[in-house]
């Protein structure tokens, strides 16, 4: 699989009436990657997505999808994209099936077999011939995903896809997206507020605030690198002060409720445990404290909400 990025934003800017809403945004998404797009309310996530799909014009810069520029070669660029922007609006007076036929006609090569296949994939076989006005929100979301994947896009763009889904629905969507990215090599670009979901789903995340790219981080740590990394470890013990004494002050320990925490690497953790047990201390639990995405996010964006 070639490693040329599926979508590349180069210095993308948007100005409205003198205000710069998006400022020289540059990022890339690789094939088969689930890429998260995070930001506080009003930071410009939806605007960026709308520019990627051609709903809004760019004031500056360009966006390339599968090698085609969205500005100069729109139909070729967008042919490889499937998207759900905000709520997936369907024609309520048509059935789900008729909706899919309608949208399917606009892309070449989609036949009845493919529509049936997609309906089965999103689990709507039983209700697909009902009018959309009778669908629940979860079903509409699934129909939205169906119309987005009909033409086997190289890039799937989702703006807040978990809106209104129950936990089972969220779990299904997450599994499905990961499956898509692994098995079909589809790149998935998701913008969401649900940090816990993003943490579970994404390979990399970009954080945007006030129209500017703040950071891009990788969420999947390579197992090779972990053993050498120093991490904060929490030991739950019955007698914290004695425990620390037993460790002879190895690493600076801080007392916390129910135990103590130290900074140590993988091997030292095992050593410490052995020593504590040998000294008769009861060890109830050992936890490696990974800074959650939420903590990182709030730290990087300074906890502000409106851009």
């Amino acid at each position: 699989m070639s490693q040329a990025p599926v979508v590349s934003l180069q210095n993308v800017s948007k100005r409205i009436g003198g205000r710069t809403i998006i400022d020289r945004l540059t990022l890339e998404v690789n094939p088969g990657e689930v890429f998260g797009f995070l930001g506080p309310n009003g930071s410009g996530k939806t605007t960026t997505i709308r520019m990627m799909v051609g709903l809004i014009t760019m004031s500056g810069g360009d966006i390339t999808i599968a090698g085609h520029s969205v500005k100069s070669a729109f139909p070729q660029a967008i042919a490889r994209v499937g998207a759900i922007v905000e709520n997936p609006e369907m024609y309520k007076y048509l059935t789900g099936y008729q909706n899919l036929i309608h949208f399917g006609r606009m892309n070449p090569g989609i036949d009845k077999a493919r529509i049936d296949e997609v309906v089965a994939l999103v689990g709507l076989q039983d209700r697909i011939h009902d009018k959309v006005k009778k669908y629940s929100l979860g079903m509409r979301q699934r129909l939205g995903v169906a119309q987005a994947i009909l033409h086997r896009p190289a890039l799937l763009i989702l703006d807040e896809p978990t809106n209104g889904l129950d936990p089972a629905g969220i779990r299904e969507l997450r599994d499905y997206l990961r499956k898509l990215s692994r098995e079909e090599g589809t790149a998935v670009f998701v913008s969401s507020h649900l940090l816990s979901e993003m943490e579970l789903m994404c390979d990399r995340v970009a954080i945007i605030q006030k129209g500017e790219l703040i950071d891009i981080r990788s969420l999947r740590t390579e197992s090779a690198g972990v053993s050498a990394a120093m991490e904060e470890v929490l030991f739950e013990v019955d007698r914290p002060s004695e425990a620390v004494t037993a460790l002879e002050g190895r690493g600076s320990a801080r007392f916390v409720d129910g135990g103590f925490s130290v900074t140590a690497d993988r091997e030292t953790i095992a050593d410490m445990n052995a020593r504590l047990v040998a000294a008769g201390i009861r060890v109830y639990g050992i936890r490696v404290k990974i800074k959650s995405l939420e903590d990182q996010f709030l730290e990087v964006t300074g906890g502000e909400t409106i851009g």
Partner: protein, 256 residues
């Protein structure tokens, strides 16, 4: 597909069929003398029907663009490998086909119903006035010409509604303004004629009454114009409306 799956379309079609039937029945029941002939009845009903058809077509044409925006489905429509021009054109064609369908149905139903009720008359006496360019000709030519004229007018009005729909993205506004201008058009023409200025010839409204030529008159009193001239004026407005629709639809951001 979208137009024909809506109940409203079928109701409109139903009305188009039923109204002339009702009229015909009324004629039969109410006229004592049997001088009434199928052609006269047909023309009378057609006048009424075209008014109805215009309203129906304007409603549909306003809905087709503005409805996508208000329903939010425009987003899904535009994120497809089609240029915006192609999408707009396909919508326009679908509306024209709708108008054509209703026109043809109207012709068929009025003709059939009245022939059934009154019998077929080959040379109706009072149908075509002596001043008409078609005087002495066949009633078929007259009826077809009438329908053609009205259809052309219909197309121009519908294009106007379509333009408003694309520009304002609100179907209510598009329908309201189009119908207002349609109905007050005669009044406005009348007012403008009072001024007796030559440029009144270039205003749209008088020329929407193309069928006045049929009866030997001209739309703008005191400033005679020819049929070709009217067609020309209508064509210019048609082009202007479409250019506006196209520009507005293709260039603007979709942020709603």
């Amino acid at each position: 597909m979208k137009i024909y799956r809506r109940i409203s379309t079928w109701i409109m079609l139903g009305i188009t069929v039923v109204i002339p039937l009702l009229f015909t029945i009324a004629f039969v029941l109410l006229t004592e003398d049997n001088n009434a002939n199928n052609w006269e009845a047909m023309m009378l009903e057609s006048q009424v029907l075209f008014l109805l058809i215009t309203i129906f077509a304007v409603v549909k044409s306003s809905e087709t663009v503005a409805g996508e925006f208000s329903r939010g489905t425009i987003k899904l429509l535009l994120i497809r490998p089609w240029s915006r021009s192609a999408i707009l054109l396909s919508k326009f064609i679908s509306i024209i086909l709708f108008a054509l369908l209703f026109t043809v149905v109207s012709f068929a139903v009025t003709w059939l119903a009245n022939v059934v009720a009154f019998g077929y008359t080959a040379n109706p006496a009072n149908l075509i006035s002596d001043q008409s360019p078609l005087a002495g000709g066949s009633p078929w030519a007259y009826a077809l010409r009438y329908y053609l004229d009205e259809f052309i007018t219909l197309v121009v009005v519908v294009t106007f509604g379509f333009m408003l729909s694309a520009a304002f993205r609100s179907s209510g506004l598009a329908i309201g303004l189009s119908l207002f201008l349609l109905f007050s058009g005669t009044m406005i023409s009348g007012l403008l004629s009072l001024t007796d200025k030559a440029w009144v010839k270039y205003v749209l409204f008088p020329h929407l009454g193309l069928s006045t030529y049929l009866n030997g008159g001209t739309p703008v009193p005191n400033h005679p114009t020819t049929y070709a001239f009217s067609l020309g004026v209508l064509a210019v407005y048609f082009v202007i409306f479409n250019v506006i629709s196209w520009t507005v639809f293709t260039k603007r951001d979709v942020s709603a």
